[in-house]
Amino acid sequence: MTSSKTIVLRSSDGATFEVDEAVALHSLMIKHRIETGGADSTTIDVPEVTGNTLSKVIEYCKKHVEAPNSDDLKSFDTDFVKVDQAVLCHLAKASYYMNIKGLLDLSSKTIADMFKGKTVEQIRETFHIKNDFTPEEEEELRKENSWNLFV
Protein backbone atom coordinates (compact mmCIF):
# COMPACT_ATOMS: atom_id res chain seq x y z
CA MET A 1 0.00 0.00 0.00
CA THR A 2 1.49 3.30 -1.04
CA SER A 3 1.52 5.96 1.60
CA SER A 4 -0.15 9.06 0.42
CA LYS A 5 0.07 12.43 1.96
CA THR A 6 -3.04 13.70 3.64
CA ILE A 7 -4.26 17.24 3.96
CA VAL A 8 -6.57 18.64 6.60
CA LEU A 9 -9.25 21.02 5.46
CA ARG A 10 -10.84 23.32 8.00
CA SER A 11 -14.25 24.83 7.37
CA SER A 12 -15.57 28.23 8.43
CA ASP A 13 -17.16 26.72 11.56
CA GLY A 14 -14.00 24.89 12.63
CA ALA A 15 -14.85 21.41 11.38
CA THR A 16 -11.80 19.54 10.12
CA PHE A 17 -11.62 16.90 7.42
CA GLU A 18 -8.61 14.75 6.63
CA VAL A 19 -8.38 13.89 2.95
CA ASP A 20 -5.84 12.35 0.60
CA GLU A 21 -3.75 15.01 -1.09
CA ALA A 22 -4.88 13.77 -4.50
CA VAL A 23 -8.50 14.38 -3.54
CA ALA A 24 -7.75 17.84 -2.15
CA LEU A 25 -5.91 18.79 -5.36
CA HIS A 26 -9.17 18.39 -7.27
CA SER A 27 -9.83 21.89 -6.01
CA LEU A 28 -7.59 24.20 -7.97
CA MET A 29 -7.74 26.73 -5.18
CA ILE A 30 -6.30 24.21 -2.71
CA LYS A 31 -3.78 23.09 -5.30
CA HIS A 32 -2.60 26.64 -5.62
CA ARG A 33 -2.43 27.08 -1.84
CA ILE A 34 -0.36 23.93 -1.45
CA GLU A 35 1.98 24.82 -4.27
CA THR A 36 2.59 28.31 -2.98
CA GLY A 37 2.23 27.64 0.73
CA GLY A 38 5.48 25.85 1.45
CA ALA A 39 6.28 22.40 2.82
CA ASP A 40 4.33 22.58 6.05
CA SER A 41 0.93 23.47 4.63
CA THR A 42 -0.91 20.39 5.81
CA THR A 43 -3.89 22.27 7.18
CA ILE A 44 -5.78 24.47 4.78
CA ASP A 45 -8.47 26.87 5.91
CA VAL A 46 -11.56 27.13 3.77
CA PRO A 47 -13.32 30.04 5.50
CA GLU A 48 -15.96 30.54 2.82
CA VAL A 49 -17.42 27.07 3.27
CA THR A 50 -19.27 25.56 6.23
CA GLY A 51 -18.59 22.07 7.55
CA ASN A 52 -21.76 20.56 6.08
CA THR A 53 -21.04 21.83 2.61
CA LEU A 54 -17.34 21.02 2.78
CA SER A 55 -18.14 17.44 3.69
CA LYS A 56 -20.31 17.12 0.57
CA VAL A 57 -17.68 18.78 -1.59
CA ILE A 58 -15.11 16.30 -0.36
CA GLU A 59 -17.48 13.45 -1.16
CA TYR A 60 -17.70 14.76 -4.74
CA CYS A 61 -13.94 15.12 -5.09
CA LYS A 62 -13.28 11.66 -3.66
CA LYS A 63 -15.60 10.02 -6.18
CA HIS A 64 -14.18 11.93 -9.12
CA VAL A 65 -10.55 11.40 -8.17
CA GLU A 66 -10.75 7.78 -7.04
CA ALA A 67 -13.12 6.43 -9.68
CA PRO A 68 -13.17 8.82 -12.61
CA ASN A 69 -13.97 6.16 -15.17
CA SER A 70 -16.60 4.26 -13.28
CA ASP A 71 -19.87 3.53 -15.03
CA ASP A 72 -21.93 4.95 -12.23
CA LEU A 73 -20.22 8.35 -12.24
CA LYS A 74 -23.08 9.89 -14.19
CA SER A 75 -25.71 8.52 -11.84
CA PHE A 76 -23.55 9.60 -8.89
CA ASP A 77 -23.58 13.14 -10.26
CA THR A 78 -27.31 13.09 -10.93
CA ASP A 79 -28.05 11.91 -7.40
CA PHE A 80 -25.48 14.23 -5.88
CA VAL A 81 -27.48 17.29 -6.86
CA LYS A 82 -30.84 15.93 -5.79
CA VAL A 83 -30.77 18.14 -2.74
CA ASP A 84 -32.81 21.08 -1.66
CA GLN A 85 -32.24 24.50 -3.13
CA ALA A 86 -30.29 25.85 -0.17
CA VAL A 87 -27.78 22.99 -0.19
CA LEU A 88 -27.46 23.27 -3.95
CA CYS A 89 -26.65 26.97 -3.74
CA HIS A 90 -24.08 26.36 -1.02
CA LEU A 91 -22.49 23.69 -3.21
CA ALA A 92 -22.38 26.06 -6.16
CA LYS A 93 -20.78 28.79 -4.08
CA ALA A 94 -18.25 26.38 -2.63
CA SER A 95 -17.35 24.95 -6.03
CA TYR A 96 -16.84 28.45 -7.38
CA TYR A 97 -14.71 29.55 -4.45
CA MET A 98 -12.71 26.32 -4.35
CA ASN A 99 -12.38 26.26 -8.15
CA ILE A 100 -13.71 22.75 -8.78
CA LYS A 101 -14.75 22.91 -12.41
CA GLY A 102 -16.81 19.74 -12.59
CA LEU A 103 -18.84 20.54 -9.51
CA LEU A 104 -19.35 24.15 -10.61
CA ASP A 105 -20.61 22.93 -13.96
CA LEU A 106 -22.89 20.35 -12.37
CA SER A 107 -24.38 22.63 -9.72
CA SER A 108 -24.76 25.64 -12.04
CA LYS A 109 -26.49 23.51 -14.65
CA THR A 110 -28.86 22.14 -12.03
CA ILE A 111 -29.72 25.61 -10.74
CA ALA A 112 -30.20 26.79 -14.34
CA ASP A 113 -32.60 23.92 -15.01
CA MET A 114 -34.63 24.96 -11.99
CA PHE A 115 -35.65 28.26 -13.47
CA LYS A 116 -35.04 28.03 -17.19
CA GLY A 117 -38.67 28.39 -18.20
CA LYS A 118 -39.17 31.76 -16.57
CA THR A 119 -40.26 34.85 -18.44
CA VAL A 120 -38.82 38.30 -17.81
CA GLU A 121 -41.55 39.13 -15.29
CA GLN A 122 -41.07 35.88 -13.45
CA ILE A 123 -37.30 36.40 -13.32
CA ARG A 124 -37.80 39.85 -11.82
CA GLU A 125 -40.22 38.45 -9.27
CA THR A 126 -38.18 35.41 -8.26
CA PHE A 127 -34.93 37.31 -7.95
CA HIS A 128 -36.36 40.57 -6.66
CA ILE A 129 -35.05 42.59 -9.58
CA LYS A 130 -36.36 46.07 -10.19
CA ASN A 131 -37.08 47.09 -13.75
CA ASP A 132 -35.02 50.25 -14.21
CA PHE A 133 -35.36 50.67 -17.95
CA THR A 134 -36.92 53.81 -19.38
CA PRO A 135 -39.83 53.20 -21.79
CA GLU A 136 -37.49 54.07 -24.68
CA GLU A 137 -34.90 51.54 -23.53
CA GLU A 138 -37.59 48.90 -23.15
CA GLU A 139 -38.79 49.56 -26.69
CA GLU A 140 -35.18 49.32 -27.93
CA LEU A 141 -34.80 45.99 -26.20
CA ARG A 142 -38.09 44.74 -27.51
CA LYS A 143 -37.05 45.53 -31.07
CA GLU A 144 -33.63 43.99 -30.63
CA ASN A 145 -35.09 40.80 -29.26
CA SER A 146 -38.26 40.73 -31.27
CA TRP A 147 -37.40 37.31 -32.59
CA ASN A 148 -38.47 35.94 -29.23
CA LEU A 149 -42.02 36.83 -30.07
CA PHE A 150 -42.05 34.63 -33.13
CA VAL A 151 -42.15 31.46 -31.13
Partner: protein, 368 residues
Protein backbone atom coordinates in the same frame (compact mmCIF):
# COMPACT_ATOMS: atom_id res chain seq x y z
CA UNK B 1 -26.21 39.88 -4.75
CA UNK B 2 -29.09 38.09 -6.35
CA UNK B 3 -31.33 36.15 -4.07
CA UNK B 4 -32.75 32.87 -5.13
CA UNK B 5 -35.76 31.40 -3.49
CA UNK B 6 -38.55 32.46 -1.21
CA UNK B 7 -37.89 35.10 1.35
CA UNK B 8 -37.66 32.60 4.16
CA UNK B 9 -34.83 30.61 2.59
CA UNK B 10 -32.98 33.17 0.55
CA UNK B 11 -29.50 32.20 -0.47
CA UNK B 12 -27.68 35.13 -1.96
CA UNK B 13 -25.68 34.15 -5.02
CA UNK B 14 -23.05 36.64 -6.01
CA UNK B 15 -22.96 37.96 -9.56
CA UNK B 16 -20.06 35.88 -10.86
CA UNK B 17 -21.83 32.73 -9.79
CA UNK B 18 -25.13 33.92 -11.25
CA UNK B 19 -23.32 34.46 -14.55
CA UNK B 20 -22.11 30.86 -14.42
CA UNK B 21 -25.72 29.77 -13.97
CA UNK B 22 -27.13 32.08 -16.65
CA UNK B 23 -24.48 30.92 -19.12
CA UNK B 24 -25.95 27.43 -18.86
CA UNK B 25 -29.50 28.53 -19.61
CA UNK B 26 -31.15 28.08 -23.00
CA UNK B 27 -30.60 31.07 -25.25
CA UNK B 28 -34.14 32.39 -24.90
CA UNK B 29 -33.80 32.50 -21.10
CA UNK B 30 -30.48 34.36 -21.38
CA UNK B 31 -32.19 36.96 -23.52
CA UNK B 32 -34.93 37.30 -20.93
CA UNK B 33 -32.28 37.97 -18.29
CA UNK B 34 -30.86 40.66 -20.53
CA UNK B 35 -34.27 42.31 -20.46
CA UNK B 36 -34.66 42.16 -16.69
CA UNK B 37 -32.76 45.30 -15.77
CA UNK B 38 -29.81 47.48 -16.78
CA UNK B 39 -27.27 45.67 -14.64
CA UNK B 40 -28.02 42.30 -16.17
CA UNK B 41 -28.24 43.73 -19.66
CA UNK B 42 -24.73 45.09 -19.27
CA UNK B 43 -23.31 42.01 -17.58
CA UNK B 44 -24.67 39.70 -20.26
CA UNK B 45 -23.47 41.94 -23.09
CA UNK B 46 -19.99 41.96 -21.63
CA UNK B 47 -17.27 39.96 -23.45
CA UNK B 48 -16.54 38.09 -20.22
CA UNK B 49 -20.03 36.58 -20.22
CA UNK B 50 -19.98 35.96 -23.98
CA UNK B 51 -16.84 33.83 -23.55
CA UNK B 52 -18.32 32.06 -20.53
CA UNK B 53 -21.50 31.23 -22.39
CA UNK B 54 -19.58 30.07 -25.44
CA UNK B 55 -17.89 27.35 -23.44
CA UNK B 56 -20.91 26.44 -21.37
CA UNK B 57 -23.34 26.58 -24.29
CA UNK B 58 -25.87 23.80 -24.44
CA UNK B 59 -25.81 21.81 -27.63
CA UNK B 60 -28.82 22.05 -29.89
CA UNK B 61 -29.80 20.82 -33.34
CA UNK B 62 -30.50 22.46 -36.64
CA UNK B 63 -32.92 20.44 -38.69
CA UNK B 64 -33.25 21.21 -42.37
CA UNK B 65 -36.62 20.16 -43.56
CA UNK B 66 -38.04 20.14 -47.00
CA UNK B 67 -41.66 21.14 -47.09
CA UNK B 68 -43.58 19.27 -49.73
CA UNK B 69 -46.10 22.06 -49.77
CA UNK B 70 -44.31 25.08 -51.17
CA UNK B 71 -47.21 27.45 -51.40
CA UNK B 72 -45.62 29.85 -48.98
CA UNK B 73 -42.62 30.22 -51.25
CA UNK B 74 -40.19 28.46 -48.98
CA UNK B 75 -39.41 24.96 -50.08
CA UNK B 76 -37.04 24.45 -47.21
CA UNK B 77 -37.11 25.55 -43.65
CA UNK B 78 -34.64 25.39 -40.86
CA UNK B 79 -35.86 24.38 -37.46
CA UNK B 80 -33.76 25.00 -34.44
CA UNK B 81 -34.38 22.70 -31.53
CA UNK B 82 -32.94 22.22 -28.11
CA UNK B 83 -31.91 18.68 -27.28
CA UNK B 84 -32.84 17.75 -23.76
CA UNK B 85 -32.33 14.42 -22.04
CA UNK B 86 -35.69 13.08 -21.08
CA UNK B 87 -35.14 9.72 -19.52
CA UNK B 88 -32.31 7.25 -19.81
CA UNK B 89 -32.30 6.77 -23.57
CA UNK B 90 -34.79 9.32 -24.66
CA UNK B 91 -34.28 12.88 -25.70
CA UNK B 92 -36.91 15.49 -26.01
CA UNK B 93 -36.54 18.01 -28.78
CA UNK B 94 -37.76 21.43 -27.73
CA UNK B 95 -38.58 23.75 -30.54
CA UNK B 96 -36.69 27.04 -30.35
CA UNK B 97 -37.61 28.67 -33.60
CA UNK B 98 -37.93 28.33 -37.32
CA UNK B 99 -35.37 30.41 -39.10
CA UNK B 100 -37.06 30.84 -42.43
CA UNK B 101 -39.23 33.57 -41.00
CA UNK B 102 -36.10 35.60 -40.29
CA UNK B 103 -34.19 35.33 -43.50
CA UNK B 104 -36.29 34.18 -46.36
CA UNK B 105 -33.60 34.99 -48.91
CA UNK B 106 -31.17 32.57 -47.37
CA UNK B 107 -33.37 29.58 -47.72
CA UNK B 108 -33.69 29.63 -51.47
CA UNK B 109 -33.47 26.30 -53.15
CA UNK B 110 -30.06 24.73 -53.19
CA UNK B 111 -28.63 26.61 -50.25
CA UNK B 112 -26.51 24.40 -48.04
CA UNK B 113 -25.07 24.85 -44.61
CA UNK B 114 -21.30 25.01 -44.91
CA UNK B 115 -20.65 24.81 -41.20
CA UNK B 116 -21.10 26.54 -37.88
CA UNK B 117 -18.47 27.98 -35.57
CA UNK B 118 -18.99 29.69 -32.23
CA UNK B 119 -22.68 30.21 -32.90
CA UNK B 120 -22.21 31.52 -36.44
CA UNK B 121 -23.64 29.56 -39.35
CA UNK B 122 -22.25 29.85 -42.87
CA UNK B 123 -24.47 29.11 -45.85
CA UNK B 124 -23.54 28.68 -49.49
CA UNK B 125 -25.66 28.79 -52.57
CA UNK B 126 -24.21 27.01 -55.61
CA UNK B 127 -24.25 30.30 -57.52
CA UNK B 128 -21.41 31.41 -55.28
CA UNK B 129 -23.42 33.36 -52.73
CA UNK B 130 -22.23 32.98 -49.15
CA UNK B 131 -24.04 34.12 -46.06
CA UNK B 132 -23.11 34.34 -42.38
CA UNK B 133 -25.79 34.28 -39.73
CA UNK B 134 -26.01 34.24 -35.95
CA UNK B 135 -29.65 33.49 -35.16
CA UNK B 136 -29.27 34.63 -31.56
CA UNK B 137 -28.08 38.13 -32.32
CA UNK B 138 -29.92 38.56 -35.60
CA UNK B 139 -26.56 39.53 -37.03
CA UNK B 140 -26.00 38.48 -40.59
CA UNK B 141 -24.18 39.38 -43.77
CA UNK B 142 -23.68 38.33 -47.34
CA UNK B 143 -20.06 37.77 -48.21
CA UNK B 144 -18.71 39.63 -51.23
CA UNK B 145 -18.76 37.79 -54.51
CA UNK B 146 -15.99 35.23 -54.88
CA UNK B 147 -13.22 35.95 -57.35
CA UNK B 148 -13.14 32.56 -59.00
CA UNK B 149 -15.87 32.00 -61.51
CA UNK B 150 -15.53 28.25 -61.41
CA UNK B 151 -17.61 25.30 -60.32
CA UNK B 152 -17.40 24.73 -56.62
CA UNK B 153 -16.55 21.26 -55.38
CA UNK B 154 -17.03 22.07 -51.72
CA UNK B 155 -16.57 24.73 -49.10
CA UNK B 156 -15.69 25.00 -45.44
CA UNK B 157 -15.99 27.42 -42.55
CA UNK B 158 -13.77 27.72 -39.51
CA UNK B 159 -11.76 29.96 -37.26
CA UNK B 160 -7.96 29.94 -37.06
CA UNK B 161 -6.15 29.63 -33.75
CA UNK B 162 -5.58 33.38 -33.82
CA UNK B 163 -9.27 34.13 -34.14
CA UNK B 164 -9.67 34.74 -37.87
CA UNK B 165 -12.95 33.45 -39.26
CA UNK B 166 -12.46 32.05 -42.74
CA UNK B 167 -14.55 30.55 -45.52
CA UNK B 168 -12.82 28.26 -48.03
CA UNK B 169 -13.91 27.41 -51.57
CA UNK B 170 -12.51 24.47 -53.46
CA UNK B 171 -13.20 25.06 -57.16
CA UNK B 172 -12.52 23.14 -60.32
CA UNK B 173 -12.62 23.49 -64.06
CA UNK B 174 -12.33 20.83 -66.71
CA UNK B 175 -9.19 21.36 -68.77
CA UNK B 176 -10.07 21.93 -72.40
CA UNK B 177 -7.14 20.34 -74.22
CA UNK B 178 -6.16 17.59 -71.86
CA UNK B 179 -7.73 15.15 -69.48
CA UNK B 180 -8.09 16.22 -65.91
CA UNK B 181 -9.16 19.23 -63.95
CA UNK B 182 -7.69 22.44 -62.68
CA UNK B 183 -8.28 22.88 -58.97
CA UNK B 184 -8.12 26.30 -57.38
CA UNK B 185 -8.64 27.41 -53.81
CA UNK B 186 -10.11 30.66 -52.61
CA UNK B 187 -10.32 31.96 -49.05
CA UNK B 188 -12.39 34.70 -47.49
CA UNK B 189 -11.20 36.14 -44.17
CA UNK B 190 -13.73 38.07 -42.13
CA UNK B 191 -12.46 41.60 -41.73
CA UNK B 192 -10.52 41.61 -44.98
CA UNK B 193 -13.73 41.88 -46.96
CA UNK B 194 -12.65 40.17 -50.12
CA UNK B 195 -11.76 36.71 -51.33
CA UNK B 196 -8.14 35.80 -51.81
CA UNK B 197 -7.09 33.34 -54.47
CA UNK B 198 -4.67 30.79 -53.11
CA UNK B 199 -3.98 29.31 -56.52
CA UNK B 200 -3.63 25.65 -57.14
CA UNK B 201 -2.83 22.96 -54.66
CA UNK B 202 -0.57 20.00 -55.35
CA UNK B 203 -3.39 17.66 -54.49
CA UNK B 204 -5.97 16.43 -56.92
CA UNK B 205 -9.01 17.54 -55.01
CA UNK B 206 -11.59 16.24 -57.39
CA UNK B 207 -14.37 13.79 -56.90
CA UNK B 208 -16.33 12.71 -59.90
CA UNK B 209 -18.48 10.03 -58.41
CA UNK B 210 -19.80 11.54 -55.23
CA UNK B 211 -20.82 14.87 -53.91
CA UNK B 212 -18.32 16.21 -51.45
CA UNK B 213 -19.69 17.19 -48.07
CA UNK B 214 -18.74 20.54 -46.57
CA UNK B 215 -15.56 20.60 -44.58
CA UNK B 216 -15.57 19.67 -40.91
CA UNK B 217 -13.97 22.20 -38.58
CA UNK B 218 -11.86 21.11 -35.61
CA UNK B 219 -9.28 23.16 -33.72
CA UNK B 220 -8.09 25.57 -36.38
CA UNK B 221 -8.33 23.07 -39.26
CA UNK B 222 -11.01 22.14 -41.76
CA UNK B 223 -11.13 18.58 -43.08
CA UNK B 224 -12.72 17.02 -46.15
CA UNK B 225 -13.12 13.49 -47.44
CA UNK B 226 -12.54 13.71 -51.18
CA UNK B 227 -12.32 10.54 -53.20
CA UNK B 228 -11.73 8.39 -50.12
CA UNK B 229 -8.86 10.57 -48.93
CA UNK B 230 -8.75 13.04 -46.07
CA UNK B 231 -7.47 16.53 -46.73
CA UNK B 232 -6.56 18.87 -43.90
CA UNK B 233 -6.69 22.63 -44.48
CA UNK B 234 -4.77 24.58 -41.87
CA UNK B 235 -6.57 27.87 -41.30
CA UNK B 236 -3.40 29.57 -40.07
CA UNK B 237 -1.03 28.65 -42.88
CA UNK B 238 -3.86 28.30 -45.44
CA UNK B 239 -2.37 25.15 -46.88
CA UNK B 240 -3.64 21.67 -47.60
CA UNK B 241 -2.15 18.46 -46.36
CA UNK B 242 -3.14 14.91 -47.19
CA UNK B 243 -3.52 12.92 -44.01
CA UNK B 244 -3.83 9.15 -43.83
CA UNK B 245 -7.26 7.67 -43.44
CA UNK B 246 -7.75 5.00 -40.78
CA UNK B 247 -8.55 2.28 -43.28
CA UNK B 248 -6.17 0.35 -45.48
CA UNK B 249 -6.35 1.38 -49.13
CA UNK B 250 -8.80 -0.67 -51.07
CA UNK B 251 -10.81 -1.47 -48.01
CA UNK B 252 -12.90 1.64 -48.14
CA UNK B 253 -14.77 0.97 -51.35
CA UNK B 254 -18.30 0.25 -50.30
CA UNK B 255 -18.40 2.27 -47.16
CA UNK B 256 -20.38 5.30 -46.24
CA UNK B 257 -17.88 7.56 -44.57
CA UNK B 258 -18.34 10.78 -42.75
CA UNK B 259 -16.11 13.01 -40.67
CA UNK B 260 -17.31 14.44 -37.42
CA UNK B 261 -16.16 15.93 -34.15
CA UNK B 262 -16.24 13.64 -31.13
CA UNK B 263 -15.35 15.31 -27.82
CA UNK B 264 -13.33 17.98 -29.56
CA UNK B 265 -11.41 15.59 -31.81
CA UNK B 266 -11.64 14.77 -35.48
CA UNK B 267 -13.35 11.46 -36.01
CA UNK B 268 -14.02 9.18 -38.94
CA UNK B 269 -17.22 7.16 -39.01
CA UNK B 270 -17.74 4.41 -41.52
CA UNK B 271 -20.73 2.22 -42.07
CA UNK B 272 -21.21 -0.46 -44.68
CA UNK B 273 -24.58 -1.89 -43.76
CA UNK B 274 -23.19 -4.47 -41.37
CA UNK B 275 -20.18 -2.93 -39.70
CA UNK B 276 -19.88 0.38 -37.88
CA UNK B 277 -16.48 1.81 -37.12
CA UNK B 278 -15.62 5.01 -35.31
CA UNK B 279 -12.03 6.20 -35.29
CA UNK B 280 -10.79 9.25 -33.42
CA UNK B 281 -7.63 11.21 -34.15
CA UNK B 282 -5.50 11.41 -31.04
CA UNK B 283 -2.07 13.04 -31.13
CA UNK B 284 -1.74 12.66 -34.86
CA UNK B 285 -2.80 9.04 -35.23
CA UNK B 286 -6.10 7.27 -35.60
CA UNK B 287 -7.44 5.25 -32.68
CA UNK B 288 -10.30 2.86 -33.20
CA UNK B 289 -12.90 3.70 -30.61
CA UNK B 290 -15.77 1.55 -31.76
CA UNK B 291 -16.14 -1.41 -34.06
CA UNK B 292 -19.48 -3.16 -34.14
CA UNK B 293 -20.62 -5.94 -36.41
CA UNK B 294 -24.28 -6.39 -37.07
CA UNK B 295 -25.84 -9.79 -37.36
CA UNK B 296 -26.49 -12.00 -34.38
CA UNK B 297 -24.08 -10.18 -32.11
CA UNK B 298 -25.91 -6.90 -32.54
CA UNK B 299 -29.32 -7.44 -34.10
CA UNK B 300 -30.34 -3.87 -33.38
CA UNK B 301 -27.86 -2.66 -36.01
CA UNK B 302 -30.30 -3.74 -38.68
CA UNK B 303 -32.13 -0.53 -37.82
CA UNK B 304 -29.33 1.18 -39.71
CA UNK B 305 -29.29 -0.96 -42.82
CA UNK B 306 -30.78 1.61 -45.17
CA UNK B 307 -29.28 4.59 -43.36
CA UNK B 308 -26.17 6.65 -43.93
CA UNK B 309 -24.20 8.28 -41.14
CA UNK B 310 -25.01 11.94 -41.20
CA UNK B 311 -23.17 13.73 -38.42
CA UNK B 312 -22.05 13.59 -34.81
CA UNK B 313 -23.72 15.86 -32.30
CA UNK B 314 -23.12 16.51 -28.64
CA UNK B 315 -25.60 14.93 -26.28
CA UNK B 316 -25.97 15.59 -22.60
CA UNK B 317 -23.29 14.84 -20.00
CA UNK B 318 -20.52 15.02 -22.54
CA UNK B 319 -21.80 12.16 -24.69
CA UNK B 320 -21.56 12.00 -28.46
CA UNK B 321 -24.50 11.00 -30.59
CA UNK B 322 -24.19 9.68 -34.11
CA UNK B 323 -27.08 10.59 -36.38
CA UNK B 324 -28.04 8.20 -39.16
CA UNK B 325 -30.37 9.26 -41.87
CA UNK B 326 -32.41 7.35 -44.42
CA UNK B 327 -33.55 9.94 -46.93
CA UNK B 328 -35.79 7.55 -48.78
CA UNK B 329 -37.72 6.20 -45.86
CA UNK B 330 -37.59 9.49 -43.98
CA UNK B 331 -36.03 7.82 -41.01
CA UNK B 332 -33.62 9.28 -38.50
CA UNK B 333 -31.80 7.01 -36.09
CA UNK B 334 -29.63 8.23 -33.22
CA UNK B 335 -26.91 6.12 -31.64
CA UNK B 336 -25.01 7.14 -28.53
CA UNK B 337 -21.30 6.40 -28.89
CA UNK B 338 -20.79 6.34 -25.13
CA UNK B 339 -23.65 4.23 -23.87
CA UNK B 340 -23.72 2.18 -27.11
CA UNK B 341 -27.46 2.50 -27.19
CA UNK B 342 -29.93 3.64 -29.76
CA UNK B 343 -31.76 6.75 -28.66
CA UNK B 344 -35.27 7.86 -29.20
CA UNK B 345 -35.10 11.42 -30.49
CA UNK B 346 -38.85 11.64 -31.02
CA UNK B 347 -38.34 13.19 -34.42
CA UNK B 348 -41.44 12.77 -36.49
CA UNK B 349 -40.69 11.19 -39.82
CA UNK B 350 -40.25 14.07 -42.13
CA UNK B 351 -38.39 14.94 -45.24
CA UNK B 352 -35.14 15.96 -43.61
CA UNK B 353 -32.41 17.27 -45.79
CA UNK B 354 -29.88 17.39 -43.01
CA UNK B 355 -29.42 17.49 -39.28
CA UNK B 356 -26.52 19.39 -37.80
CA UNK B 357 -25.28 19.96 -34.31
CA UNK B 358 -25.21 23.59 -33.25
CA UNK B 359 -23.97 25.55 -30.25
CA UNK B 360 -25.57 28.98 -29.99
CA UNK B 361 -23.50 31.90 -28.78
CA UNK B 362 -23.62 35.63 -28.27
CA UNK B 363 -20.32 36.18 -30.05
CA UNK B 364 -20.38 39.30 -32.17
CA UNK B 365 -18.11 39.16 -35.18
CA UNK B 366 -18.42 42.84 -35.89
CA UNK B 367 -20.26 45.81 -34.45
CA UNK B 368 -23.89 45.87 -35.44
Amino acid sequence: MTSLGHRSTEIPLHESLMLEVIARLPVKSIIYWKCACKKWRDLISDPYFVQLQLFASRGSLLIYERNSDIKDGNPESLIWVDIIPHEADKYRLDFIKTLNSLHVKVMSYGTLQVGSVNGWICYAHPAGIFYLLNPVLKGNMFLPEPQLNLNMLSSGFGVSTVGEYKVIRICYRKLSNEPGYKIEIEVYTLGVNRWKRLGQTRYNLISLSQEVESGVFVNGHVYWIINRRIYDFDLNSETFLLIPSPLRPGKSQALDKVLGVVKGRLSWISWCGVRLEVWVMKEGSWCKEIAIEGGHANPCLKLLVTCKPSCVIDGSHGTSILIFHDHLRKKVVAYCLDTKKFLNLNLHGGCFEAIKGYRPSFVKLWNF
